[in-house]
Amino acid sequence: MVKLGVKDLAISYGNETILEGVNFDIQEHEIFGIIGPANAGKTSFLKAVNRMDLFNTDMQVDGDITFNGVNVQKVRNVYGLRRRIGVVFPLPVGLPLSIYDNVALAPRLAGQKDRAELDVIVERCLTRAALWDEVKDRLNSLGSMLSGGQQQRLTIARALSQDPELLMLDEFSIAVDPVTTMRIEDVLKELRDELTIILVTNLVQQARRLADRTAFFLGGRCVEVGVTEDLFTGEVKDTRTRDYVDGRFG
């Protein structure tokens, strides 16, 4: 089943086109990698999926993105859409609430009031984000006062706490040490059974380790979409793809 369909997508800020001609379908229970150098339009793509264009009057989205068959540009209740989509951006944001409340916020917004249920969710999400052991004794301290790497993992835990159908990660490992990154990568592999993941990364090896299929964005265009391993060893449509994954530019 197609979880996210993208057809003729174009994104522009004012007169400047950031991304155009994007076409692909992301299947349910797939980890879909997006790689490419900086300013290739990867983050703007995620923003369009989550309807963050509403925060920025400059941002113009054309073409169709469908989530569960519904065109997200025509959604009336964007909050309902965003609740189904968890997103982690590279700049970590720990909300100025307790660590517990950070993670319990989304379930509470969805109407969960039962403290025991919340306890379970908080522990599960923090464990999956590889943060539980570090913070389990101080769940009442402020999430906004954690270190950068801890806030990054708190953000991941918060995205998981939404119980999303689609999880979008944008360079989640940027502020996290290699060992912890590996732990989170293992969790993502397990999560494949429960949800669909879009993994934006500039570490091509991370995409290779995790992604079933990968798209290569370059200069505002999606130049390649295929089974991840093919990008490294198989046929490629565009030679620049092979140049990029082999580290010849980027």
């Binding site: 569960n68 068959g69 519904v70 959604v75 009336r76 209740n77 909050y79 309902g80 859409l81 189904r84």
Partner: protein
């Protein structure tokens, strides 16, 4: 109904697009806070409408443009012939405000420069708090100070029969307006970016040269805004001028003359007039005049200050 249609049309997995209770609450809150937002506009219009409503009869009837603005005779209760000339009242307000600004402008600008550019650390913090507290003293207390403290001092120092006059009210009003002007002017000086100062200092300019040649020109509009707001405040002040001017109708020829201000006239006479009488309506007409003038002053100050932010 529209909810159900959307659901069936898009099929399963699309139930996230239902308009939930949270969605409706959000729209409701947006509508409620919008009411709060427009209330300020409603009140400003309301003030104008309700004052005009009470003053309207006078404007249509007894109002005589030439008499109102150019006659010094305010005799609303005369038994032979009522006259409604506000020239002397305008002169009273202008003389007191003028003297107050003569005192307040240099001293508050000086204090603002000192606090923003010379004072530092604890001294600066102390001065800022003091200025803030001074700005909070109620006008009726200032009026009382004019009456009970300044009055005897003026009588003794200058050997004059009455100490409630232009000098008294001007000094009181100056002391009253200065703290507000100081803090607005200080904000304007602080808004000048530090690189400006550093660049000038790197060229070997002294602190004063930097202030005089760089900071003051850059903060010019903000400082002008501070002065305008001070003028507006002085112009509209009521209780202090009611109590400290001596409240007698006069076109002053010296600072020792007693005068009467526009605002004070309303405060002193409204309680004694019958609602709907020409005198009562004339007082509301003065109110319209005050409203329009302060509106213009505030508008000018806003435009001037906003010019700063653009440039």
């Amino acid at each position: 109904m529209s909810e159900k249609m959307a659901q069936t049309a898009a099929g399963a997995g699309s139930d996230f697009d239902r308009l939930t209770l949270d969605w409706y609450i959000d729209k409701l809150v947006q509508a409620l806070v919008f009411i709060g937002g427009i209330s300020a506009i409603v009140f400003i219009i309301g003030i104008f409408v309700f004052i005009s409503r009470e003053g309207f009869g006078f404007l249509l009837g007894e109002f005589n443009f030439k008499e109102f603005f150019f006659s010094p005779n305010w005799r609303p209760t005369s038994e032979t012939k009522e006259t409604f000339g506000i020239l002397a009242l305008v002169a009273g307000t202008a003389s007191v405000t003028g003297l107050a600004m003569l005192i307040a402008i240099p001293f508050s600008l000086g204090a603002a420069i000192f606090i923003a550019e010379f004072a530092s650390g604890k001294t600066r913090e102390f001065l800022k708090i003091t200025v803030e507290l001074l700005a909070a003293i109620p006008s009726v207390v200032w009026g009382f100070i004019g009456l009970a403290i300044m009055n005897p001092i003026i009588i003794e120092t200058f050997d004059v029969p009455v100490g409630l006059n232009v000098l008294n009210a001007g000094v009181i009003l100056g002391l009253m307006a200065a703290p507000i002007m100081t803090s607005i002017a200080e904000d304007a000086l602080n808004a000048v970016p530090d690189p400006y100062r550093e660049a000038a200092e790197a060229m070997g300019a002294t602190r004063w040269q930097v202030i005089y040649k760089v900071v003051l020109p850059a903060a010019k509009n903000g400082l002008l805004g501070a002065v305008l707001l001070g003028v507006g405040r002085g112009f509209g002040e009521t209780m202090a001028v009611l109590m400290a001017t001596g409240h007698s109708i006069n076109i002053p020829t010296s600072v020792f003359d007693s005068v009467r201000a526009l605002t004070a006239t309303i405060a002193a006479e409204l309680g004694e007039t019958a609602a709907g009488s020409p005198h009562y309506q004339a007082l509301f007409t003065i109110g319209i005049f005050l409203f329009v003038i302060t509106f213009i002053i505030n508008l000018a100050a806003d435009l001037v200050v906003r010019g700063v932010k653009k440039g």
